[in-house]
Symmetry: C2
């Protein structure tokens, strides 16, 4: 049940493969260790995760059971996000809960897999599971796709500057 | 698909009505406002929630978006539990996430409804939703039922002492 795909390599491919799930794929022009660092080092996360807006990384405990909490300061207001790591496999895989302060008590679970494409590029495959289809569809209609693409474009720019 | 019920009014009735769900009912010999206080005041929660074991209430922010965190010191070890309130309707209804430190990143959502039975007694109806059936069944096989009954018996004893 794919609902949207994009030809541009600069847009994330987003689909709804099964009930309660969102599947996202995106390729980055950077080796896997560099992409991994951008997801796990606070000073790097702060530079892309908030779509180019100011982002305060209040907590980023990248280990099983660790918590994370980011606060984005965007033109339309202050938005907090938080969760907890279920699994951390260095360079390869992160599983964590994700919750937006605007919908407290409605966590989803994200599995992010970092694939080394062998040519200096990295593909991130992200599967998100919600408690209900309503929560998933609400997230998608709340501008998730454009927000995600803005963040990933900020990540492209950041990856080009680090080594 | 009811899997177990109990005749004794002192045991909680526990069933699996639908996929990914647990349904629990239990009657307490106390008026609703007193039962509500035992779920929302830290010094009262500390006296029953941990099955009679020492319980440290690290956080109990009973409001939409607020966090809670309890640490139980039992003979078999120290167990932390935490979550966040989705909904707080005084005297009537609490909806919150529930996560055990031993399974981080595997939250469930609990809806607790407090029914005034009109005769000085209160029924608590608790519906829990998990992300998967495996998480639900794992929780049930991990001694949830006996732990719950021990906590509710401690709550019976507490309710008899407060006014």
């Amino acid at each position: 049940m794919t609902t949207s795909t994009h030809e541009s390599p600069r847009k994330a491919s987003i689909s709804k493969p099964r009930d309660r799930e969102i599947h996202i794929e995106r390729v980055f022009n950077a080796p896997r260790d560099r992409v991994w660092r951008c997801f796990t080092e606070p000073e790097l996360v702060a530079k892309w995760w908030g779509r180019g807006n100011k982002l305060v990384v209040e907590k980023l405990e990248v280990r099983r059971g660790g918590h994370w909490r980011f606060v984005e300061h965007s033109p339309d207001g202050v938005h907090g996000f938080e969760g907890r790591y279920r699994e951390v496999t260095p360079q390869t895989r992160l599983v964590y809960t994700f919750e937006w302060d605007g919908m407290p008590g409605h966590p989803s679970v994200e599995t992010a897999v970092f694939e080394d494409l062998g040519d200096g590029r990295t593909k991130i495959v992200n599967d998100t599971l919600f408690f209900t289809n309503e929560e998933r569809d609400g997230m998608m209609s709340a501008g998730m796709e454009s927000g995600l693409n803005e963040s990933y474009e900020a990540l492209d720019r950041l990856l080009a500057t680090i080594s």
